[in-house]
């Protein structure tokens, strides 16, 4: 019975819904890693140490990829921040046997940490490789644990975690807006990475709202999506870096 109620209610909600998305202007990005640390701080992402980082066990939710082009002296390096793309057609979602990862009505690719049993199937299925697995118990030697954000759970060993578009911030803004009886404004929700980005390369907003800043940028002719040919329909839109015009 409950299921039937849910299904029709979901339909109703689908009609005029937000789709949270991010625009990343590669022309502005300087590869400064501010977003990486901001994410670690906001989301209680553990630090694994040198030994484990060498073994491929590090756990960044956002990483700056650096590409080399050409050879010395005509060498060029470019940066590209890669985080969970919150795909509309997410390859990770159908393969999870316990619904630990699923799509929310607001277009987030959600990860419910305490539902995850750690099959890592989603990680293997993800073409962007943005899912981080808790290879060990997280270690926050006292008093570093006092920094932990109480709005985000501390994940156990053996589960997958990943960028949530700082869902705790979205939720907080939505609750506050509801409490004061107003709509969420464009730009009010800022994930930690967007908030910190010194050159303002990251823009966050509702892609379904044609007026939002993110949505306007996503229609730029510089816009492209990462691995678009896979048909994953990412909610992260990149804006191509400018060409050297000298």
């Amino acid at each position: 019975m409950a299921k039937a109620v849910r299904a029709s209610a979901e339909q109703k909600l689908e009609e005029n819904n937000r789709r949270w998305g991010m625009v990343i202007d590669l022309d502005r990005c300087t590869g400064c890693q501010a977003c990486v640390v901001a994410c670690h701080a906001e989301n209680n992402v553990p630090v694994v140490g040198e030994h484990e980082a060498t073994r491929g066990h590090s756990m960044h939710w956002i990483r700056i990829e650096r590409y080399w082009e050409g050879e010395y002296p005509n060498v060029k390096a470019r940066f590209m921040p890669v985080l969970c793309q919150h795909c509309g057609e997410a390859p990770c979602e159908p393969v999870c046997p316990v619904f630990a990862t699923y799509h929310t009505p607001e277009g987030l690719n959600a990860q419910v940490y305490n539902r995850c049993i750690g099959t890592r199937f989603c990680g293997a299925a993800c073409p962007y490789k943005v899912r981080a697995f808790n290879w060990f118990r997280p270690d926050f030697p006292e008093p570093l644990d006092q920094q932990l954000n109480p709005d985000v759970s501390v994940r156990q060993r053996g589960i997958i975690e990943k960028c949530s578009f700082c869902v705790q911030r979205i939720r907080r803004v939505e609750l506050d807006a509801a409490a004061s009886g107003r709509e969420v404004e464009d730009g009010e929700v800022q994930p930690a990475c967007v908030q910190s980005c010194p050159p303002s390369a990251l823009i966050f907003g509702d892609l379904n709202d044609p007026e939002s800043e993110a949505s306007q940028f996503s229609r730029s002719r510089r816009a492209f999506r990462l691995l678009d040919f896979l048909g994953t329909d990412p909610a992260v839109v990149y804006l191509k870096g400018g060409e050297t015009n000298v």
């Binding site: 409950a2 909600l13 501390v154």
Partner: protein
């Protein structure tokens, strides 16, 4: 042959007993775990909700943050003393409170209702939606020492969330509504 049959008969009788015993253990275990989950913790001072409720002190007088914050809030020592400097100041429990005040020490109250780390819960939207305190905390006014009224598990949360107006159900049953 006869012996064989006897033995068979005996095992046939034994089996149901064994199954019943196992079932019994499971039921008792479930019951006990519920009991533990809803047991009242030992408090540093035997605070009597009943007495205060009978004195017409409203919930929000001592837990004033419930309508505006995640946490309802435990009253500060200052708030206790505000009344008890004059009221019932000779009561032995109240004296304990005043002792804490004198020593400028917080009272180490034990939390009665706990949410696990992976749950996001805020009082504010619940009170905003008109849920009364008693709905979840039971009739605290009748309790001498506060204890959990129900085992707050996910099914219990869902029972109520599913019972909401249709247009809200999808939002309220989204995993991320409560999980963080």
């Amino acid at each position: 042959m006869d012996q064989d049959r006897n033995r068979k008969v005996r095992t046939l009788i034994l089996w149901p007993f064994l199954i019943i015993a196992i079932l019994l253990i499971v039921v008792v275990a479930i019951f006990l775990s519920r009991q533990i989950a809803t047991a009242a913790p030992v408090q540093p001072i035997a605070f009597k909700h009943k007495v205060h409720a009978e004195a017409e002190v409203s919930c929000l007088f001592c837990h004033p943050n419930a309508p505006r914050s995640d946490i309802a809030g435990i009253p500060s020592v200052a708030r206790c003393v505000g009344c008890h400097q004059t009221i019932a100041a000779d009561n032995s429990d109240v004296k304990l409170v005043l002792d804490y005040w004198e020593r400028n020490e917080p009272i180490p109250w034990q939390s009665v209702n706990n949410m696990p780390d992976f749950v996001f819960f805020s009082h504010q939207p619940h009170l905003g939606a008109g849920v009364s305190c008693e709905t979840c905390h039971g009739n605290v006014g009748e309790m001498v020492v506060a204890k959990p009224d129900v085992s707050m598990d996910m099914g219990w949360c869902l029972d109520c969330h599913l019972d909401q107006p249709m247009e809200n159900v999808a939002r309220l049953t989204d995993c991320l509504a409560c999980h963080k």
